[in-house]
Symmetry: C2
Amino acid sequence: MEHSNPNLTIADLGEQQLLQRLYQFCSPSKVGDDAAVLTPRPGHHIVVTTDMLVDGIHFSDRTTSPADVGWRAAAANLSDIAAMGAMPLGLTISLGLPETLSVHWLDQLYQGIADCLNTYGTAIIGGDLSRSAVVTVSMTALGEVLPSAQILRTTAQPGDAIVVTGVHGAARAGLELLLNPDWGQTLSTAEQLELKQAHQHPQPRLDVIQCLRQIAPEVRVSGMDSSDGLADAVLQICRASGVGAEIQQTHIPIPKSLQATQALTSEQILEWALYGGEDFELVLCLPLPSAQALIATMGAGSAIIGHITLERNVNVLDRQGIEHPLNMQSGYQHFG
Amino acid sequence: MEHSNPNLTIADLGEQQLLQRLYQFCSPSKVGDDAAVLTPRPGHHIVVTTDMLVDGIHFSDRTTSPADVGWRAAAANLSDIAAMGAMPLGLTISLGLPETLSVHWLDQLYQGIADCLNTYGTAIIGGDLSRSAVVTVSMTALGEVLPSAQILRTTAQPGDAIVVTGVHGAARAGLELLLNPDWGQTLSTAEQLELKQAHQHPQPRLDVIQCLRQIAPEVRVSGMDSSDGLADAVLQICRASGVGAEIQQTHIPIPKSLQATQALTSEQILEWALYGGEDFELVLCLPLPSAQALIATMGAGSAIIGHITLERNVNVLDRQGIEHPLNMQSGYQHFG
């Protein structure tokens, strides 16, 4: 890898050499046959999630290096595994690549994917390569979970506390800094870096799953991740469970740097926290005592932001105690 | 579905309606959460295989209807599951779609996928939708297998009989008929249909796996499928196992219609049988008595075509007993 010619293209290498090169990033015992083989632990169920990223739609060289495209894509899939209460077993990658693509770009993409997976104790277990006019990255992540530890969207109950595992709005602010460097000049260099990292290098919350297993192994937990926004997560859980929610605006954890900045009104901060998306935190609904124990263990950034209600409305209460219904309109839609 | 307007596009529907529409083709208990959940039987390992198909590279409206694109893609993934000795547990689909694509095309694609999966007792368990300038279909199939029943490429041994589970060259002939309808006019309509079906509607050989479990549950079987050609399969197995092979040209099963036709020389028939690809049969290496029992059970089309040798060369013996080394040059390469 270290001697790679920056002008070398996919077409220069050919499929066999390309595969040999990519194998170096993979789990050696898994690749090379018609399919990868995984051995789940006894009694565990398998969870499977899949994602497709397309150049120009989901990533852009303007805001994201190939290594960060790889990291973010892997992190998004691991976040879905965490959102099921599971721990990862491995990930497959299918790539559609133009023949003119530089091998250096591809190396960096794989390095980003491998770095993320290694950080969370898992690996690339297989894949497929195809020609395509548009760079396309399709990933499928697999995980394992004991049936009693599954986190579903459908099982939230009135009275449950609603926990978020970290701050919201950071990834959206980081994107703003990348697209529009003049914005946020009142922020320190360290603050800017932290927000950009939130966008480019999100951390899937598999640590929360391990924590939950220790402090509340038998407790019913409903939830999902906040990849499409905090508002979307609360609405999806409520819809799937046939319940409502009441959120305290002041309890939503916001990055400290945004609280202090003059660059945003409080309305804009709330907008980014609710609808910004891509923070990859978990939104969990569980009985209050377990929620309090979880917050105590996770510490800074995590919070109880409200509770599940029998009535099916989803409202945010502002500082004055006035109710504002949450809506999906501001949420991210892939089509239409 | 039955009332679909042929002019309706993806953009007309929007993501939520599109998802609701596609859910109708899916296993209802699996979709709707962050990930699908599968329950493998105790003691079974999980096998995972993935494929990406790109419009203009892997399929074309000229030779394949959207329903057949779906069937073939699903069949190719199930063939990889069979090639591991496994039975399928489910399949995820990620789609990249232009907004101008007709919903009718997408319905037909999903119908083809669902028809194939239902035929083999499995289902769509999840997926992802994305915008893309190029229609891109990425599938990941999962299966389960007892460790003792795994079929790997690495375990062929000198003396093993080499079994093919059906005729070769049929899919290549079917493609020729579709691309070049003037060819093969000496064939009957029924013969033409059969060859076209071999290309458009391949059958993954999961039946062979069930058969193997009954007649030889404890026997070591090495092998893979012949999706990239019979020659490629034999060469890959030999390379992975560190062995060679001797193939009897006259033992390779060829479609009856091709044996009789004036449209091809015997050299062309052999070329298509060895290098044509996409017949989706299995190429299996196992001790002779088990191979004979397997052939006896499977019947017409299956055959022992040769044996594994200690010497690492891979040769085809012609009618006169003259050796011809097999080469990869004629095999299908995705890049380069």
